[in-house]
Structures are given as structure tokens and as C-alpha cells.
Symmetry: C2
Subunit: 330 residues, 2 copies
């Protein structure tokens, strides 16, 4: 019989198919269609993007030329615009405001065909450093309430360009999903006076069966209440609500675990599309004891259908315990 499982943070239920669990080969492989042609994120094409905001580059080189390793540019088609005021207003029963915010692209490498798993450790560390630096810089703008760092890789994960890149969006309000997580974590803290994510770490380390990678500072595991087959969460072992307060000594360990995870995924599925999202506390006004930053990593192996849209229930065809076994084997 299948199992119903309830997320302890936000109360979402999922259905885990323990009767006919799906193996990696059961998922349709969607081969990436690498488009040849002029890529605005490749060396030599720096003029095709808006002027760079920041870059990690060889000291002798000038902005907007080659010689960089990580490069941040404004999104050419931003979802939100940096200039202006919110001017929130009501229209009958509805509410609207101007689309103020920031939308930046972190070009993670000059190599069109190399993703995070193929880079040197030091190169991945530079990407993480850049995420932190941009988050710190955007915090200063008092109009912004939340900084979201995420990555879409592959067309079916919603990436419109194939060259590896992540994105940073600064939002003028705390998004609903983030609020729900914060409130759920706070409810647990109010009741137990402990961080729910710290408790989750303890339980996962002691039960072992869902853990796939562990190092000094991080744990990667398939969450008990996965929404997607082969979903993975990466949690820092030390309680810390803010991603951008990550300690310098933690960064190399995060780089290693991210690289190892992506290489495991490649061994299991070729080069599947994926999304990951850094979950962190908003910039201010939140009690910081209850929340614990982490990365939620979702390979794009299935399609979300009507049932999931309507209910917020998810049907997971591979139990996380089994997914962890596959991950550990490769």
C-alpha cells in the first residue's frame, strides 16, 4: 500500500508509491538539445549582455571583456525593474503594485558545456562567494524584503539559455511559500524551543537510510516528505538562519557536496534538467532561532499535473529511502 506523509514544517501531504516504486531507468530521458550559435554568456560575447555588475576575473582584465571566471550581469529581460517606487494600491477586491525589484544572472563559468559537477572545487567556491556577495549588496536596498537565489538547468527545468547560470531576484515582499515555511518553523520552535531543521538533521543522521552525502559541515539527504522523485536537501550542520552568513570554512564543504551530488545525478540520469533553490530567512523582522537555511534540489524527472496543482499533494513515484540507495550506489 502507498504511504501518506506529512511535511512537519508546512503541513503538506505527499503520497509515496511504495508498491510500484520507480527506478532511475523508468523516467523518460529528455535529452538536452544544445543549441549551437552565439551564446551571450560565452567568452568573447561579453558585449551581448548588459554591463556586468560584478565579476571574479584575472586582475589584468577589464570589466566586460574575457578573463573572468564568474560574472554577474542584470537579466536582459528582468521580471522586475530596479528603478521606481512600489506605489501599492487596491483595485476593488484586488491589490497591486509596481514591479520593483532586482533580477541578476550569475554566469557560473566561461565554459558553455561544463556544469557545476565538471568544475574545479575552487571554481564552485567562487560561485558560492558570488551568491553571498550579491545577496549582501542587495540587502542594502531598503525596498527589498527577500533575496531569492536559484538555478534552472536544462530546458524542461525552465532554463531559456543553456550556458550554466544561476539567478538572483530581490523581491519587495516576502513570498507566500517562504512565509509558510517561516511560520511552520516558528510554530515548532514555540512548542519545542528547538529548531525543526536541527531536529531533522539529528533524525536523518541517526536513521541513516535517507542520507546520501555527509562532510564536516553539510548533510545531503532525500527528505522524508519529498515532493519529487530523487529530491535532495543540503543542510548546514550548524544552525544558521541566513545563507549569506555562511562561514568561510563552510564554503569549500558546500562546494564539494554540491559537486558530488551533481556527479551522482549525472551517473544516474545522464544530464537531467534540475532546479535548486536556496531557502533562507528574510532580511529582517524575523525571529532567527527558528529557521535554518538550506538548499532544496529537484531533478526534473516528472511533470506536475492537475492533482498536484489542485491540492498541493504530490505523488512521489520513488520513495526517498530507495532514491537514497540509488544515489549511494553510484
Amino acid at each position: 500500500m502507498s504511504e501518506l506523509r506529512r511535511d512537519p514544517v508546512i503541513g503538506r501531504w505527499v503520497i509515496v508509491d511504495t508498491d510500484y516504486p520507480a527506478a532511475p531507468q523508468d523516467f523518460e530521458k529528455e535529452e538536452h538539445q544544445w543549441r549551437r550559435g552565439e551564446c551571450p554568456f560565452c567568452y568573447g560575447n561579453e558585449g551581448l549582455t548588459p554591463p556586468e555588475i560584478e565579476a571574479i576575473r584575472q586582475t589584468s582584465t577589464s570589466p566586460n571583456t574575457s578573463g573572468w571566471q564568474v560574472r554577474v550581469v542584470p537579466n536582459k529581460f528582468p521580471a522586475l525593474q530596479i528603478e521606481g517606487d512600489l506605489n501599492r494600491e487596491g483595485i476593488g477586491i484586488y491589490d497591486m503594485s509596481n514591479g520593483i525589484g532586482a533580477h541578476e544572472v550569475v554566469i557560473e563559468t566561461p565554459y558553455h558545456y561544463k556544469d557545476i559537477g565538471d568544475l574545479l572545487n575552487s571554481e564552485v567556491e567562487n560561485i558560492i562567494h558570488m551568491w553571498c556577495r550579491r545577496a549582501f549588496d542587495l540587502i542594502k536596498d531598503k525596498r527589498f524584503r527577500y533575496i531569492m537565489i536559484f538555478k534552472n538547468y536544462g530546458p524542461s527545468a525552465g532554463a531559456s539559455l543553456e550556458h550554466p547560470h544561476s539567478q538572483i531576484i530581490a523581491l519587495p515582499m516576502v513570498p507566500k511559500n517562504v512565509l509558510e515555511e517561516l511560520k511552520g518553523a516558528q510554530r515548532y520552535f514555540d512548542y519545542r524551543e528547538r529548531c525543526i531543521f536541527c531536529d531533522m538533521l539529528r533524525q536523518e543522521i541517526s536513521e541513516k537510510e535517507r542520507v546520501i552525502l555527509e562532510n564536516k559541515h553539510f548533510l545531503a539527504f532525500c527528505p522524508y516528505v519529498s515532493r519529487f522523485p530523487f529530491e535532495v536537501w543540503i543542510l548546514p550542520k550548524k544552525h544558521n538562519p541566513y545563507f549569506c552568513h555562511i562561514l568561510p570554512e563552510e564554503i569549500p564543504h558546500l562546494a564539494t557536496i554540491l559537486k558530488d551530488l551533481l556527479n551522482k545525478l549525472k551517473n544516474l540520469f545522464g544530464t537531467p534538467a534540475y532546479n535548486f533553490i536556496i531557502h533562507t530567512t528574510p532580511l529582517d523582522g524575523w525571529q532567527i532561532d527558528a529557521y535554518h537555511w538550506h538548499i532544496e534540489f529537484m531533478p526534473k524527472l516528472t511533470r506536475v499535473a492537475g492533482f498536484e496543482w489542485g491540492t498541493g499533494f504530490y505523488i512521489v513515484s520513488t520513495p526517498p529511502e530507495l532514491a537514497a540507495q540509488y544515489f549511494k550506489k553510484v
Copy 2:
């Protein structure tokens, strides 16, 4: 500049791209790959499904033979199982229970290549009658708290079989998304003593610009806070929390508006994949003044990416006002 809009029921924000709005031809057309071969939902193949639960069929014909017009069978690979007890238990910080529920398939027509838009009005009315009858029947099982009726059409909307069919799932708990909607509607009712959906109807009818179809009993419009381009909601004009309490005289009007909507969609996009979900009040325990059943209809034109997963924010590339114009033109 883009606009931020806030859903008045659940508080979700969306970003509406008013700068570079997408026209129907801007969406990638995903042609359906109709697989030939034995379809378990076609005439003559009744033996390939589990025995039928109920059918609307010619009086002279026997169950599980041809001669039906709408046929309901258990899902061959059910997400939930009808027999057993929930046995809810805690496992450390997590919660689980057995996967008890019902999962039925409504085969909407014997014609493999005809969708709702291609059927006779009376045939569509029969489908609606069948949804109601099954919901009424499943209500009787006291283990179930919510009946969800939905449809996935086309592979990219998550349909695994192409023969037109809808699905009914009976759940042992009220799903999170439904709860949020109920609570949001209740909050509005507590404050205003009016149903928010009735107010929405009044505002849409008076503003006109998002309305695409209207008849005696139903209104179809592109919601102000659409999550997806060309999203459409169909609301009954008369306040009624329960879908299965739909009045007999309303059914022909619902059939007409559904058919007309699907034909408009076909004119705009060929045969795009879509999902629709019937939103209704749970079976008991809820104050019924605040909620108003309706259908949320989502053509599958775009892919949901990391930003949407992480935030619950949606980026809508066609403002609903513009989508309504396109719908009205065809």
C-alpha cells in the same frame, strides 16, 4: 514596468509582464504525439480496464461491453487504495499514514480523438452528471474528507493516456491548497460578511475587460491574479459552496461554457495540453457561506521553473486583460 498583483483569497503574489506581453504565437507549440495502438479506453477494449463502477450506456447493453457514452472505472494504478484503515502515526518529527482513498477514471467519450470541445452538448452534460454522481457516492464513505475532480489533457499536462478522461480522487484529509483557499475566503467573509467569489463575479462583470464568456448561470474570465498565461476561471453566478449541489438547470449552461472555452483555446493554440480542477468545499465541518465552487482551467503553455517553486510567486507573460482580448476575438 511589470505589475505585482496579489491574490485576494490566498495572498499569493504574481508578476504580470505588461512590458513585453506574450501573444498566442509566442508560446512553443508542443504537438501531441498521438500513440496508435491498443487504447484501454476505446470501444471494444472494456476488458483492459478494471471492472466499471458506473456508466451511462444504452439500456440494452451490459456493463463492461461497448455501448456506453461515459464510463467510470477504478484507476489501474491508483495513487491511493480503497481498502484498509489510515493508522496515522508519528516517526520522530515526521507523520505518516496508510495511503487510503479512492482513485477513479471518468472515460469521457468512446471517441479517442474527440475532446470535450468536439462532443455534443448532451454528451458533455452526461460527463458533468457523472462527476456529480461519483462525488455523491464517495461522500458516503466516512473515511474521506475531500473529493477532487480534475482533468489532465495532453502529455505535457501529465496525462499518461491520450484518450480524453478526467479523474476523481477521494482523500482522507483536506489538502493544504484547499485549506488555504477556504481559510482565505473565510477571513474575507469574517471581515465583510460577503463571499469573496460573489464579489469577484460582481467586479468582473462590471469591469468587463477580463470576461470571455457569459451565460445565464456561468461566467468565464481570465483571473486578475492569473498564475499562468491564458488561465481561465469558470464561476457559477449563484452562490453555492458544493460542486455536487449544482442545480439541474445549471448543468446545460456549464456544458456550453466548457465546450465554448475549449473551442476558443483550440482556435488560439491548436490542441494545447491543459489541466482543470474543480474547486469545492470539503464534505463537512466547514462554514458554507464563505466558499463558492468553481473551475480553474490552465492551458499548459509554459514550464514552471525554480523561482516559482521557491517562492509561490508566478511570472505571467500574458496579462489576463490581454489574454481575454485574444479569447474574445476567436
